[in-house]
């Protein structure tokens, strides 16, 4: 009897211990999820309505709140997300929603009617920056809850890759719900509140994610060190990233990027119209030494807008123009230019951009070019670029996935306001290649003619507290890993 009692008591004790352990584990798990993960941003999202959002922060957050019909794989090929599709003809596309249907955050199922309502509303909105992108749609028909048919006015073989807008609930569109400040989507993160901070809750496990704006890069770093924020991504000078890499409590991850930085040229300028002058500029820049000294290590020298891994390049990287100031000078003399060649370079007031401008100035001086830097506040600078009021400017294409960027940036029918051919480059041969969608020929032609001077694909990085796991930066800088990010077993000792 004594033995039985002992066994019984032992079992009871073990059960209690297991229960306690479970409780503690549950409590720890609960604590981990109730302690928010804080993400410090250089720029808060401006608009959480995907029909209006244009800034990078809004687009990155909206990818997490909403789901689109289509997404892209690592080679930028369009892949099904909410729906698979069938191109019946270049004018007719059938989209079938995947089963089981996704649910909106207010628990209603996402159906073909919601898809139609979303795109119908974009087409009819008078003040949406997305409207023009979908002006080719002639009609949208719903066949049943899962099938929606898009008819186009003009043939477009890339139409599927354009359907990347987050789907909104039909009823709320009709009620003119304020998606800008109270978004309702079907993505992995649901909207909680947005006062000073933007709070999103992960649908799967209730993990709260807080976004705060901290403009100053040094302050963002101090907040990470102090434990007032858990995560930073992008928008830091390389020195600050290197500094964070020396800190034992901080993890820094980097990845090769795809965002393309370049020098834009005004082809209406009598000097820059000459190919030899453009080639001279390309040879005057020592990209590799700039990358080695003032950029993140995973930055790559660029040869074309779309990176080597893009499906149009089939893994082949076009080589960047080699640094050769002697050849540069020779090309200028052959073009009949009197040295030094005076050029005006416009850039923004961003500290890193101004620093790069001064390096370019020093490098180009060795090739007989006298570069005058004009740094303007972002609004004025961009306005000057759009108006074609420049000789040279520096900009970056962010998040480009589809090859129609070549047509928009270099097509002779794409001068502003019709497209982005801000340098007014006109090339009948290139136009024919664009029409034929012969992408290898297009990139080769652009590289030979140099309407842009390619610089580099800037690397991406994320820095976070050692307790954070399941997060990595992505080549285009998106924040998709917030859908999976975790705190490790130990809760940070930092003040929350």
């Amino acid at each position: 009897m004594k033995v039985l009692n002992t066994i019984w008591l032992t079992c009871l004790a073990v059960c209690l211990l297991v229960l306690c352990a479970c409780n503690r584990s549950d409590a720890n798990q609960q604590l981990k999820q109730t302690v928010p993960i804080r993400f410090a941003l250089a720029q808060m999202p401006l608009n959480l309505d995907p029909r209006y959002a244009t800034d990078a922060a809004s687009e990155r957050v909206n990818r997490l709140i909403y789901q689109s019909l289509v997404d892209f794989d690592a080679t930028s090929n369009p892949v099904p997300k909410l729906a698979t599709w069938l191109m019946v003809s270049p004018r007719e596309y059938h989209f079938s929603l995947k089963q089981p249907l996704a649910n909106f955050h207010h628990h209603k199922p996402l159906t073909a009617y919601d898809v139609k309502a979303t795109y119908d509303s974009i087409i009819t909105l008078k003040d949406s920056p997305q409207t023009s992108e979908y002006s080719n749609i002639s009609s949208i028909q719903v066949k049943n809850e899962t099938l929606v048919i898009f008819q186009l006015k003009q043939p477009d073989t890339h139409f599927a890759s354009k359907l990347i807008i987050g789907i909104l609930p039909k009823d709320d569109i009709e009620k003119k719900h304020d998606f800008t400040h109270h978004p309702i989507g079907s993505g992995p993160l649901a909207f909680e509140h947005w006062q000073n901070k933007l709070a999103l809750k992960r649908v799967r496990d209730g993990q709260l994610i807080l976004f705060t704006e901290v403009k100053d890069p040094t302050v963002r770093v101090l907040k990470l060190l102090r434990g007032e924020t858990d995560l930073l991504q992008g928008d830091l000078q390389p020195e600050l990233v290197s500094y964070l890499q020396t800190k034992p409590d901080i993890t820094v991850k980097t990845v090769a990027g795809v965002n393309f930085s370049y020098l834009g040229l005004n082809m209406q300028d009598p000097l820059l119209r000459q190919r030899k002058v453009r080639m001279a500029i390309a040879h005057a820049i020592d990209r590799q030494s700039i990358i080695d000294k003032v950029m993140l290590k995973s930055t790559r020298a660029a040869g074309a807008i779309l990176p080597p891994e893009h499906y149009t390049n089939a893994g082949v990287a076009l080589p960047a123009y080699a640094y050769n100031p002697g050849l540069s000078k020779q090309l200028l003399l052959e073009a009949g230019v009197q040295l030094p060649l005076k050029l005006v370079y416009k850039t923004s007031t961003d500290a890193q951009r101004v620093r790069l401008a001064t390096i370019l100035q020093a490098q180009m001086a060795k090739a007989g070019m006298n570069l005058e830097i004009r740094s303007l506040d972002w609004g004025t600078f961009f306005e000057e670029v759009k108006k074609g009021n420049f000789q040279l400017f520096g900009l970056t294409w962010v998040g480009i996935k589809t090859p129609d960027i070549y047509a928009k940036a270099f097509g002779s029918q794409q001068f502003p306001p019709n497209g982005f051919n801000r340098g007014h480059y006109a090339d009948a041969e290139l136009d024919a290649m664009l029409l034929a969608e012969d992408w290898p020929a297009v990139t080769a032609r652009i590289q030979a003619q140099l309407p842009y001077i390619p610089l580099w694909y800037e690397a991406q990085f994320a820095a976070f507290d050692k307790n954070i796991t399941n997060y990595a930066p992505k080549p285009d800088g998106n924040w998709d890993d917030l859908a999976t990010i975790k705190r490790s077993a130990t809760i940070s000792n930092h003040a929350h």
Binding site: K126, P129, D216, V219, L222, R226, G379, K408, P417, F420
Partner: protein
């Protein structure tokens, strides 16, 4: 009479500011329609939106419509966030006001006593020390002082938060950053002003009457020395209420100055216009208050 006179001046200034900002906004490069629709919008879409927003009407008519809306408390909506601007101002202005008031208090409570002390110890090592420190502090820019204070009090000592507005102590570091600069200016001004007054005959008379040094300084000398100090405080308060842009940015303080700069960067014209109006109103109000303070400090000052 004084109030009538000042009110007339107030409305003239406000109207002038409104007209000027309205015209300036229409002169700077950039088009709100393009900001809203992006680069690739068709001409027809642009024209349709321009008509809807009333931007195709003559400038004078647009100004009239703007004034009419303003009179009804309608500042319009932000182009980017689509938030009513009145709401933005309502949340941002009180935070600027809080920061300005605390910074002013630090400036006054540190600057004036130090200035008096420095004047009383004129020429001695204490005066030289105060002068050196205050000159150095007034030369330190906020973008340097702010991060240094953060490093010491937040990162090393862990006493205060680095930035943000989450806790009640969040205001301390930005207020110190602004208050130190202000106190340095006030120290210099109080010292100079008091030294001038201390050489006056009536101060000698007060001392000859056997009044205590405390009464001579605080009741007789400081009263006369206050006028230039009030001027400086008024000017500084005006600029604090206009939003200490750099300090607000460094400390992620959601004030009016930061809102103004962000709206200019994004070409959010209606927000810029509203912010400039609020800033101008603040300046005018502070000027009015300064005039009243003159009168209180020295009844000989006539208000006309």
């Amino acid at each position: 009479m004084f109030l009538l006179h000042r009110s007339a001046r107030f409305f003239t200034v406000v109207f002038g500011v409104l007209l000027l900002t309205f015209l300036l906004i229409h002169l700077v490069p950039g088009d709100p329609v393009e900001v809203m629709l992006g680069e690739s919008a068709s001409s027809a879409d642009r024209e349709a939106l321009r008509a809807e927003l009333g931007l195709n009407q003559p400038l004078l008519q647009q100004f009239g419509i703007y004034l009419n809306k303003l009179a009804h408390g309608d500042f319009g909506n932000s182009i980017h966030t689509r938030t009513p601007i009145a709401e933005l101002i309502k949340t941002r202005y009180p935070t600027t006001l809080r920061l300005a008031m605390l910074s002013l208090c630090i400036g006054l409570f540190v600057g004036i006593p130090l200035g008096i002390y420095s004047a009383l110890k004129s020429g001695r090592w204490q005066d030289i020390l105060v002068t050196i420190v205050s000159v150095r502090i007034s030369a330190v820019p906020a973008f340097w002082l702010g991060p240094v204070l953060m490093l010491i009090f937040a990162v090393w000592l862990g006493w205060l938060p680095v930035s943000g507005m989450e806790s009640n102590t969040s205001i301390i570091l930005p207020a110190l950053t602004l208050g130190f600069g202000l106190s340095a200016i006030l120290t210099r001004m109080t010292r100079t002003s008091l030294l001038e007054v201390l050489n006056e005959d009536y101060i000698r008379t007060a001392r000859a009457k056997g009044l205590s040094e405390r009464v001579v300084i605080l009741r007789h000398a400081m009263r006369a020395a206050l006028l230039p100090i009030i001027t400086i405080v008024g000017l500084q308060m005006g600029s604090l209420l206009a939003g200490a842009v750099i300090t607000e940015t460094i400390f992620s303080w959601d004030g009016i100055g930061r809102l103004l700069v962000e709206s200019i960067e994004r070409r959010d014209y209606p927000v810029t216009q509203a912010c400039v109006l609020i800033v101008a109103l603040s300046y005018v109000a502070v000027n009015l208050f300064t005039d009243v303070m003159y009168r209180l400090a020295d009844p000989r000052v006539r208000m006309t």
